[in-house]
Amino acid sequence: MGGRDTEIVLLDENGIRCDGRKVDEPRRIMIKAGGLKNADGSAYIEFGDNKILVGVFGPRDVHPKHMSNTDTGILRVRYHMEPFSVTERKNPAPSRREIEISKVIKEALEPAIMLDKFPRTAVDVYIEVLQADGGTRCAALSAASVALADAGIPMRDMVAACAAGKAADTIILDVNNEEDQAGQADMPIGYMPSTDKITLLQLDGVLTPEEFKKCVETGIKGCKIVYELQKKALTDKYFGNGEK
C-alpha cells in the first residue's frame, strides 16, 4: 500500500497494465491435478509467475489424539513458502503472514468439505509455494481445492479463488506483485461457483461502496475463469482418454 515504487506506470492511457494485460484479464493460469505419488491427492498450479504445489492426506488418524473431534473430522492446512520462493531468502520458519494465510485458506475450504462424514479423522493440506509473485493465497486456495477433489474427499462444491483490486483508480482483475505493492487495494475472493457462495473475502486498502461492489463482481468473474481450469485439470486426469 501507499505507492512504494512510484516509477512504475500501473495503467497506461490505452488501458494496458504494467505486465501488458487488460484491466479485466487474469494472468496465464495452468492447473494440473495429481502428480505426487505418495500423497492421497495433489495439485500443481501456475498462476502467472506463482508456482504452487499442494499435497493432501486423509481422511486419516489424528495425531496428536487430543485434537480429534468425535462429531466431525478436522481440517488442517499448512501454507508454507520455500526459502527460494522470493528474491531475498525467506526464513523457512512459519511467519506471522503464513500462519494467517493457513488460517484463511482453512476457513475458506471448510464450507465446501463434508468433514462430518469422517468423525475422529483429520484431513491435512500441505501447500508449498515454490515461487511467489502476488496473489499466492488465491492460487493456493484454488490448487488446494483441486487436490482435495483429487484425494476423493466429499465436497459440496469446488472453491475457486481470484483477486481483484484497485490500481491507478481503476478496478482490476488478478492483482500482481507490482500492483499489490503500488496499487490502492487488493481483494482476494474465494468462491463456490455452483452454489454461488463466497467463502473468502479479504480487503487490503480503501474502496468506496460502489467500488467494493464492482470489485467483488470482477473477482467473481475471475473465480469463474479459474473454476473452468480446475474443472479441466480434474477432467484431464480422470477422464483423459475421452472414452466411456
Binding site: R60, P119, T121, G152, M155, Y238, N241
Partner: protein, 226 residues
Amino acid sequence: MENKRKYVIPGDVVTTGPYRPEQNVILDGNKIISTTIGISEIYDDSVKVIPLTGKYIPKINDLVIGKVVSHTSLSWELDINSCYVGFLPAQDVFGRDFSAHADELSSKLKSGDLVAARIANFDRTRDPLVTIADRDLGKIDSGDLIKISPSKVPRLIGKKGTMIQTIEMATNAAITIGQNGWVVVSCESPEGLLKAKKAIQMVDEKAHVANLTDQVKEMLESKGES
C-alpha cells in the same frame, strides 16, 4: 430422459427433479449435486455417483483384507487401508473360552500377517469391528498382495463378477478381493500369477474405459500365445 452416464466433479449438478439421492450426491433444493469425482448414474427413482477416487469407508458385511499392525492382550488391530483401524477381538479367534492369561495372541496372528475378514459392525462412534469367524475368512498363508484404489474394486469384480471370472479362468489363479482395495492373488504357476497381477493393475489404471473386460481378455490371451 437423460439416463446416460455422465462424468462429474464436486459441485456439478447431476440432475434436477424428484430423485432419491444415494451414494456421493447431495440434495440442494431440487438440484442433485455430486460430491466427488466420478460417473453419475440416474435410475428410475434414484441418483448415484460411482467414485473414481477416495479412501475406503468401512461398510457392514464388507469383505476386507487386513494387515495386523499390533495387538493388545484382548484384541488385534488391523490396517484395513481406511481412515479407521479394524478391531479384531481375541474371542473371535480363540473361541469363547479365551483367557487373557493363558492365551498368547501372537501365537495365532503376528504383526504383518494378512487376514481376510468381514466388517461385523461399524458406526460413526466406534472403530470398525471385524470378524474372521466365517467360511473363507481368516489368516492368508500364501499369495501376493496387490493394492488398488478402493473405488475401483467394483470395476475389478465387474457386472455379476464377469471381470474377475475372466481373469481367474485365463490364469487359473485364486483371487481374493477385499472391498478396501487390497487384493490377494495366489496361483500355482508363476506365469499365471504374473498375468493375473498385470490384469488387475490394468483394471486399476483403465477403470473408466468401456469394454474393459474385452481388453483384459485380449491382453490375457495375447500373452498366452507368446
